[in-house]
Amino acid sequence: MKNALALALATLFLSGQAALAAEPQVERQQAMKSVGQAMGTLAKTAKGEIDYDAVAVEEAFAAMNTATVNFIDKFPEGSETGHETEASPNIWSDRPGFEKAVKQFDTDTANAVAAAPQDIAAFRAEFGKVAQNCKTCHETYRVSKK
């Protein structure tokens, strides 16, 4: 009986987690978090805080590129508010502009993966192009709330 209760609670908890993860606001926040993590590796490399590691760099560019998969679908109508979203209303009022910005990030990260830079000089060129996307998109399509 006790086990059954524990199981039921566990199931409830897990399904709750699943329901939470299915919220588009949460999904896109997780996608952005993965981009931020990858950015950490790349920026520290650019600053010379960590030694150049071609594999880690390629993985970081690839993680960013993965985050763009279905990214625009994570902003459906009705998800403009809630879950502390910092998505700007511009995403819904200027959909083509937003989609273009995401496409640019997709292209630039894919190019960086393909370039597979082997040294810091080659890396910096790709990194500059990729990093510019962060600000360009956040300038118009994100609002700060905290």
């Binding site: 920026a43 508010t81 962060c134 600000k135 360009t136 956040h138 300038e139 609002v143 700060s144 709330k145």
Partner: protein
């Protein structure tokens, strides 16, 4: 009864006369212009970026060299109506090509136009008033070297009573102060330089400090963050108790240089343009700004806690 009415009319007329005089646009003294040398254009360019001129006066979305074409055009949609940043390129008709340095300095330090009327404080003369005449002289020299644009920017579209220009004079009595905002006991050189850049040309307080219902800065909540004066969301609290509490001075300087926060998030909204301006300053200036932000008093958030 009739005498009482007459007295009231007299009081009203007297009050109107007093208000008219109190609201008069200010002017610099002749002595303020003494001893100015030929403008140093390189220093003028630094002041141009520190002052963030391009963020409002270049065409919205301008990048790279397009930021040097100060055609005007940004619309600031505030609670008081829509302010349109004017053309300040050297064009003689559409821009400020016919202005003298005296007129420019009066606009920057007194908020007074060449016609002797008040400018609106959407143009942050309330901060620029703390700039030195020497820096203004250099900045003016640099502005002359920029390309002219014949774009005619629209007039402001403000609601009553904010469309009464003369009333800005009364507002100035309350909010136009040229002394330092924060008084330090014994600031080092970096903090002093940072104070000048932040409180003067950088005009950081204009967005990062909350405003009263009539739009004046709440100096007691300096840099405590505020609701966005021009759109959604908030402008963060950048006092040592605010959003950047855990940042080191080096983190702040790196953010101003690169746009990246210590956890590799980035600048967003209007701060993107500001950060790109700051990236053009000497590294020592970004470090000075960081030193100042670490030295000012901490404050609780100057904007309401968010619901839901």
């Amino acid at each position: 009864m009739r005498r009482l009415f007459g007295l009231l009319v007299l009081i009203a007329v007297a009050a109107a006369v007093v208000l008219w005089f109190l609201s008069a646009p200010g002017k610099l003294d002749e002595a303020d212009f003494a001893g100015l040398a030929e403008p140093d254009l390189a220093r003028g360019e630094e002041m141009f970026w520190a002052g963030g001129c391009a963020s409002c006066h270049a065409a919205p979305g301008a990048k790279g060299d397009d930021k040097l074409l100060l055609s005007g055009g940004l619309a600031i949609e505030s609670d008081f109506g829509t302010f349109h940043a004017p053309n300040i390129s050297p064009d003689k008709d559409a821009g400020i090509g016919n202005w003298t340095f005296r007129q420019f300095a009066n606009a920057m330090k007194k908020g007074t136009s060449p016609q002797g009327t008040h400018l609106y404080p959407s143009f942050p003369y309330t901060s620029y008033t703390r700039m030195t005449m020497s820096d203004l002289n250099d900045m003016w020299g640099y502005l002359q070297t920029l390309p002219a644009s014949d774009n005619v920017a629209p007039d402001h579209a403000l609601g009553f009573p904010f469309n009464i220009r003369r009333a800005v004079g009364l507002w100035n009595l309350l909010y136009l102060r040229d002394g330092p905002v924060i008084v330090f006991d014994s600031p080092d050189d970096a903090v002093s330089r940072g104070q000048y850049l932040v409180e003067g040309p950088g005009h950081c307080g204009e967005c990062h400090t909350p405003r009263s219902p009539i739009g004046g800065l709440e100096f007691g909540e300096w840099m405590a963050g505020a609701t966005n004066p021009d759109g959604e969301g908030i402008i963060p609290n950048i006092t040592p108790d605010g959003s950047i509490k855990s940042w080191s001075a080096g983190d702040i300087a790196y953010y101003l240089e690169s746009g990246f926060t210590p956890d590799f998030d980035t600048a967003g909204g209007s701060m993107v343009s500001v950060q790109e301006n700051m990236a053009r300053l000497p590294a020592s200036d970004r470090e000075a700004i960081a030193a100042y932000l670490k030295a000012i008093p901490g404050r609780p958030n100057g904007y309401p806690a968010r619901g839901g």
